[in-house]
C-alpha cells in the first residue's frame, strides 16, 4: 500500500480473526489492530482529525502553540501530527503514567507539564484548563469535548469495520474520551442498528479516584449514554490476564487497556454461546505493549503485575 505521506497512512488498519480465543465456530472474535497506526495507537485518528478540523475552521495556523491534557497516547499522536504540520505542542500529563510515554512525547518534540498523580486525568484536565485561561494564545483542542475526535471514528473506524465484517453483531472498545465508542456507535446506529456497542472502562487503583468531593467527578462532553448497549468496569488483574492470554494464544502483543477490552469481549462471547446465538464480535487493540514494558505488566505473577499497576494510569 502506498501513501503520499505518513499522515495519509493513518487508519485502514487490519481486522484479524482470533481462531483460538473464539469460543466456537459460531461465536467469533475479531481484533482491529490500531497499533498499526503511525505512532502505534488508535489516537492517531483523533489527533489528525482534530488538527485538520481546527485548520479548516481557521482556529489554528502553523506556528501556533497547542495545549492538551492527556494520559499519553493522544499526546503522542498530537505531537507527531503537530511536528509534521508546524505546531508547538504542550501536553499536561499525570505523573503516574509510564516513562515511555514521556520519552515518546519528548522525541516528537512536545513539552510535558506534569499534573499530580492523585486524581489522574481529572487533574490533568483541570491543570490544562487553568493554563489555557492564563495563555489565551494557546489552543486547546480538548479531546474530551472535540466532535472531530468522535467524527474520526464515524468516518474511518466504523466504515472500515462494516466493510471488513458485514456480519458484525457486537463492537467492544475502551471508554476514555468516549470518542471511539461514540463515533463507531453512531455509525452503526445509522448503518446497522442491531450492532451492540459495548464499553470497557478501566478500573484504576484508589489513588486515581482521589477526588475531594463526589461532585468533582468528570464525564467527557462527548459522552452520550444512549449510544451504548452496556458498560463494564474492568480491573487491572483481569486486564493483565487477558493481555497475556492474547499474546500467549494468538500472538498479539498489546497494551494493558486492550486486555480490559478483550475481557469484556470474551464475557460477551460467552454470553452469546450460553444463549445459543451466533456472533461476530469486533474489538479494538488500542496500542501495542511496548509502552508498558517498564510498568511490570508482562513480568512475574498476576499478583506482581496487579501490585505494579496499582496507582498507575494503565489505560
Amino acid at each position: 500500500m502506498r501513501f503520499d505521506s505518513l499522515l495519509d497512512s493513518v487508519g485502514h488498519t487490519p481486522l484479524v480473526g482470533l481462531p483460538r480465543l473464539s469460543p466456537s465456530a459460531d461465536v467469533r472474535l475479531w481484533a482491529k489492530l490500531e497499533d498499526r497506526n503511525p505512532t502505534g495507537s488508535i489516537k492517531d485518528r483523533a489527533a489528525l482529525a482534530m488538527i485538520a478540523q481546527a485548520e479548516a475552521d481557521g482556529r489554528i495556523k502553523p506556528g501556533d502553540t497547542l495545549l492538551e491534557p492527556t494520559s499519553g497516547n493522544t499526546g503522542i499522536s498530537l505531537a507527531m501530527v503537530a511536528k509534521q504540520r508546524g505546531y508547538k505542542l504542550i501536553c499536561v500529563m499525570p505523573e503516574n503514567t509510564s516513562s515511555e510515554r514521556t520519552q515518546l512525547l519528548l522525541m516528537w518534540g512536545a513539552e510535558v507539564i506534569y499534573s499530580p498523580a492523585a486524581g489522574g486525568s481529572n487533574e490533568a484536565v483541570r491543570v490544562a484548563k487553568g493554563l489555557a485561561a492564563e495563555h489565551p494564545d494557546w489552543v486547546m483542542l480538548y479531546q474530551y469535548g472535540n466532535p472531530a475526535n468522535a467524527q474520526a471514528h464515524y468516518d474511518g473506524t466504523g466504515p472500515e469495520l462494516l466493510a471488513d465484517l458485514p456480519t458484525i453483531t457486537h463492537f467492544v472498545a475502551g471508554l476514555g474520551t468516549t470518542g471511539t465508542l461514540m463515533g463507531v456507535g453512531r455509525y452503526f446506529r445509522e448503518h446497522k442498528p442491531d450492532v451492540e456497542i459495548i464499553a470497557a472502562e478501566p478500573r484504576y487503583g484508589e489513588l486515581v479516584y482521589g477526588l475531594r468531593n463526589i461532585d468533582e467527578g468528570f464525564i467527557p462532553e462527548l459522552y452520550d449514554a444512549s449510544i451504548l448497549t452496556s458498560r463494564f468496569s474492568v480491573g487491572p488483574r483481569d486486564a493483565v490476564k487477558r493481555m497475556r492470554e492474547l499474546l500467549e494464544v494468538e500472538g498479539i502483543f498489546a497494551g494493558v487497556s486492550t486486555g480490559a477490552i478483550l475481557h469484556a469481549a470474551i464475557g460477551t462471547a460467552n454470553k452469546c454461546v450460553k444463549a445459543g446465538v451466533s456472533a461476530d464480535i469486533a474489538f479494538i487493540v488500542c496500542d501495542g505493549g511496548w509502552k508498558y514494558l517498564s510498568t511490570g505488566a508482562y513480568e512475574g505473577t498476576l499478583d506482581d503485575a496487579e501490585d505494579a499497576l496499582d496507582g498507575q494510569l494503565w489505560a
Binding site: 486525568s121 490533568a124 474530551y144 479516584y209 467527578g217 468528570f218 464525564i219
Partner: protein, 90 residues
C-alpha cells in the same frame, strides 16, 4: 440477601474507613436504603431527586447499572456492588 458493597475512598468517612461493607436487599434501591440505615447520610451522597447522582457510577458484578435497570436492578445473594466516582480517561 447479603451483598458486598465496595465503597470509594471519598465515601469512607461514612463507613468508618471500611473499604467493603455488607448490605441487604433484592434491588439496588433497597441495597442503598440498607446502606443508608447502617451508615446514615451515605444514601444522600449517592442519590438525588432524579435518581443516581450524575458523577456516581454503580456497578453490579462489574456492569454499569445505568445499562441494566438502574435503581430497580435486581440484586441476588453473593452479588458484588462497586461504587465509583466518574473520572476522566484518555
Amino acid at each position: 440477601m447479603a451483598v458486598e458493597v465496595r465503597i470509594p475512598t471519598i465515601l469512607r468517612s461514612f463507613t468508618g474507613g471500611e473499604k467493603t461493607v455488607s448490605a441487604e436487599g433484592t434491588s439496588l434501591q433497597s441495597v442503598i436504603a440498607s446502606l443508608d440505615a447502617s451508615y446514615p447520610g451515605i444514601g444522600d451522597r449517592l442519590l438525588d431527586d432524579s435518581g443516581l447522582r450524575r458523577f456516581v457510577n454503580i456497578y453490579l458484578n462489574d456492569e454499569d447499572v445505568r445499562f441494566l435497570d438502574g435503581l430497580s436492578t435486581p440484586v441476588a445473594d453473593n452479588d458484588s456492588i462497586t461504587i465509583l466516582p466518574a473520572v476522566a480517561g484518555g
